[in-house]
């Protein structure tokens, strides 16, 4: 029964594929679906909804993009689905999170790798930041580093999970500072990790810049350093890790963007790669993103391809020892 169904699905996909080969010029002819592998209300979902809200405009795709959430297992469920079950007909897009999906594919146990997807464009970059509670004794990154060096493995540091940007940043800090921290992955994503810092369950935390910025506005945390190459426009007073003396680059920055499953017709990929970045640059989109405290970083398909390749190399090296 199952193989019969699968056969029928392949036949159907083949038929639609044949039809598509004739006329990508008219693409898109019907609304497009975009899969987000995190739950409704999460940062990725929230941003995906904003950046796609103008897709129906005439100067963009001319057809709306509907968001569909497939959450679970730190994004693995959604990306497994996109790589294995989604139709590569151009009407199924997916949101990517770098370094998450590349790190997961390096660790194994999933049905996708970098080669399973074709990037379209990047919309956002959310660097990881080091936060401590507002009443913490730590005031600078040096304080944290010297504590971690004197007390190996005693510095409890929360983050959203294993093999996500926060974990990568923690690994890089350990390597750069030649120290041992106690990284505590939380269930429930960045919000739970932030709660652990504010409530004092842990001594420090690594979190998204956008969430940390909000928590600092609310007077709950101090942000000690940004794991990026340069200071962020939202936090001009916070030094980068490099400025503060730890050799940590931007490998942990959480890049978010749009991709399609491999096998999507080249004509459609080209059309999307051309239109989507301009859609992201729409002033209404930029305004909403800024209001929500979400840093934007628009990159074209070629830039994203380079970025993916570079990330994979760094991550392979970093995760080799684990």
């Amino acid at each position: 029964m199952k193989s019969l169904l699968a056969g029928a699905a392949i036949a159907l996909a083949g038929m639609t594929g044949a039809v598509m080969a004739d006329g990508h010029a008219n693409y898109p002819e019907r609304p497009i679906m975009m899969m987000v592998s995190y739950g409704a209300g999460g940062a990725t979902d929230f941003q995906a909804r904003i950046v796609t809200m103008t897709a129906g405009n005439e100067d963009a795709l001319g057809m709306p993009i509907a968001i569909i959430n497939k959450p679970g297992a730190g994004g693995r469920v959604g990306w497994n689905w996109l790589a294995g079950q989604a139709e590569a007909d151009g009407y199924t897009l997916g949101a990517y999170n770098i370094p998450h999906f590349i790190a997961q594919s390096i660790k194994g146990g999933v049905q996708y790798s970098r080669d399973s997807f074709e990037p379209i464009a990047n919309w956002g970059a959310d660097p990881a930041v080091l936060v401590v509670g507002a009443d913490s004794a730590f005031n600078t990154l040096e304080d944290v580093v010297s504590f971690a060096k004197e007390n190996p493995g005693k510095l409890t540091t929360s983050g959203a999970g294993l093999f996500v940007g926060h974990h990568i940043a923690a690994l890089q800090m350990e390597k750069a500072g030649d120290m041992k921290m106690a990284y505590i992955p939380t269930k429930g994503g960045g919000a739970a990790a932030m709660k652990a810092v504010i409530a004092g369950d842990v001594m420090a935390g690594i979190n998204n810049l956008s969430d940390a910025f909000r928590a600092r506005e609310a007077g709950n945390v101090k942000i000690l350093a940004v794991a990026d190459l340069e200071r962020n426009a939202f936090l001009p007073d916070v030094p980068t890790m490099m400025e503060a003396g730890l050799d940590v680059d931007n490998s942990s920055v959480n890049f978010r963007g749009v991709m399609v499953p491999k096998g999507t017709p080249q004509g459609i990929i080209d059309k999307l790669a051309e239109t989507v970045p301009t859609m992201f640059e729409n002033s209404r989109v930029a305004g909403k993103m800024k209001a929500g405290g979400s840093p934007m970083h628009v990159m074209t398909r070629d830039e994203v391809l380079d970025m993916w390749a570079a990330r994979e190399e760094t991550l392979k090296e970093l995760l080799a020892g684990l």
Binding site: N69, P71, G72, L162, A191
Partner: protein
């Protein structure tokens, strides 16, 4: 008293219209199986893009309050809990509907919801700063003990025997381990890609509660051709009101439990109803009547799950930490208008904050009025012939479980769990303890692992999990709960009768 100052804003024509729209829409969405409050609110977010901040939040706030109450409709009439919050409502509510008292059950549930809900929102208005500290006090070790406290009620919840209750709880705990483990990323019991994300709780709820009932209805249909018509008793609203006044104990326990548990980030909403049900059963002189269509059961469960609504927003509004999935969606609704929850919200946008909170207060009352208005009509569902009903419930079950994540995998999970539950029910097991295991398993496990990682890095396991006032208090309650169950079991010791084994 600042909230009174902004009360007028709720009653401007547009705002009040949105409030009505949100309330009625929320009731309908809530009554649809599979559409949990979280999803209903997420569905409405795009509509708020075009509205002003305060107006958008009125719509979302009203929808949140009324979907929670609306979930009781499908729980009572169809035995499909729309969300974990409504599980306990099915236990007595559906039995009442089967006896033809559906109208009464719905009226009582809406009245109890309104009382609990208004109390919860008043807590949010007056005690937010105090409550925020309380919400933060629960670290991993405390949440672990809280989950264990939940486990101790498994045995006594809706089961003929404690052993069978515990066994079904264990099945639930095992089911909860399926999928990628969220903390360590390990894969457990994944035999099919559909299980990669674990068992979805909504799909499981629909399967476990609705499917055994559908199979029973189909099975009955073959023996009995004449449609079995239940006479739906009319029930005056004043009667429901008097009934509520008589059950002050259940109402009080439900409201208090819901308010306290609702505050705790990450736990609250899902177990508030079940814990309140269990507590009011233990304290009630008529505890034997629970599970047989006793109005106190409905009152406790529904007042608790609506009382949780207000306090569950405390961590979000004061600390900018969403404590529940629904709060996370509401956070998105705020951010889209450039408003950051926390001191910014109350200092710089008091009009938005207080209009939102006020709209939830008024929304509770509107929800109650509309609910009472349709209760009599809705209860007629019980008159639909069983063969038709079975098909309708089956259709809704498939629709509901598919719509959670647009995934056929969830439908398969729903169907297989449902068939399994049908056979388990024939052996005297019941769904409620199983679901409680499914909900509590991940909470206990994740917090234990997290707590032990923190403990190993700091002062060791024993001081971390056993030290501190809150830990000791919670352990004390756990021990008391176990002792009480044991004592009750010994006192009302019954031997399993032959009929029970056959049934």
């Amino acid at each position: 008293m600042e909230f009174l100052f902004y009360m007028g804003d709720v009653f401007t024509p547009i705002n009040f219209g949105l409030l009505l729209l949100g309330t009625i829409g929320g009731l309908i969405l809530g009554a649809t199986p599979g559409l949990s409050p979280t999803m209903a609110v997420a569905l409405l977010i795009p509509f708020t893009f075009q509205l002003e901040a305060a107006q958008g939040l009125i719509l979302l706030g009203a929808a949140y309050t009324s979907t929670v109450a609306g979930g009781a409709v499908s729980a009572i009439l169809l035995k499909i809990p729309g969300a974990p919050a409504n599980i306990a409502t099915t236990l007595d509510g559906h039995t009442m509907a089967q006896k033809g008292q559906g109208a009464k059950a719905l009226q009582i549930s809406f009245l109890a919801s309104a009382v609990g809900g208004v109390f919860g929102v008043l807590l949010l208005i007056f005690l937010t700063p105090v409550l925020a500290q309380w919400a933060l006090a629960f670290g991993p070790s405390h949440l672990f003990w809280l989950a264990i406290l939940g486990v101790t009620v498994i045995g006594s919840l809706d089961s003929k025997s404690v052993v069978k209750g515990l066994l079904s709880g264990c099945i639930g705990l095992w089911l909860a381990t399926i999928g990628f483990d969220d903390i360590m990323g390990a894969q457990r019991f994944i035999f099919h890609p559909a299980l990669g994300g674990g068992i979805n709780i909504i799909a499981a709820l629909i399967g476990l509660f609705a499917i055994p009932q559908v199979i029973t209805m189909f099975a009955k249909g073959r023996h009995n051709d004449g449609a079995e018509v239940i006479k739906v008793q009319k029930h005056p609203i004043s009667g429901a009101f008097r009934e509520l006044m008589r059950s002050k104990r259940a109402l009080g326990i439900g409201t208090a439990t819901g308010s306290i548990i609702g505050l705790i980030p990450g736990v609250g909403g899902q177990i508030a109803g079940l814990v309140a049900y269990d507590q009011s059963k233990k304290f009630s002189p008529d505890r034997e009547k629970f599970g047989t269509g006793h109005s106190e059961g409905v009152i406790a469960a529904e007042s608790a799950n609506n009382a949780m609504v207000g306090p569950s927003l405390v961590p979000l509004l004061t600390l900018s930490i969403p404590g529940s999935p629904t709060a996370a969606v509401l956070l998105g609704g705020l951010l889209i208008h450039g408003i950051f929850p926390g001191s910014d919200l109350f200092d710089n946008h008091p009009d938005v904050a207080w209009t939102f909170i006020n709209s939830m207060l008024i929304g509770q009352i509107l929800m109650c009025i509309f609910g009472l208005y349709v209760a009599g009509l809705a209860a007629r569902v019980a008159q639909v012939p069983q063969s038709v009903m079975a098909a309708v419930v089956l259709g809704l079950a498939v629709f509901g479980s598919y719509s959670v994540q647009s995934s056929m995998g969830d439908v398969y999970v729903m169907a297989s769990l449902g068939v399994m539950m049908y056979f388990l029910e024939r052996f005297g097991f019941s769904a409620a303890p199983l679901v409680l295991g499914l909900i509590l398993g991940p909470i206990a496990e994740a917090n234990f692992i997290q707590g032990s990682m923190i403990a190993n890095a700091t002062d060791g396991m024993a001081p971390y999990f056993l030290g501190g006032r809150l830990n000791i208090l919670l352990i004390g309650v756990v021990v008391a709960s176990i002792l009480y169950s044991g004592y009750m079991e010994l006192r009302t010791r019954r031997y399993t009768s032959k009929e029970e084994i056959i049934a």
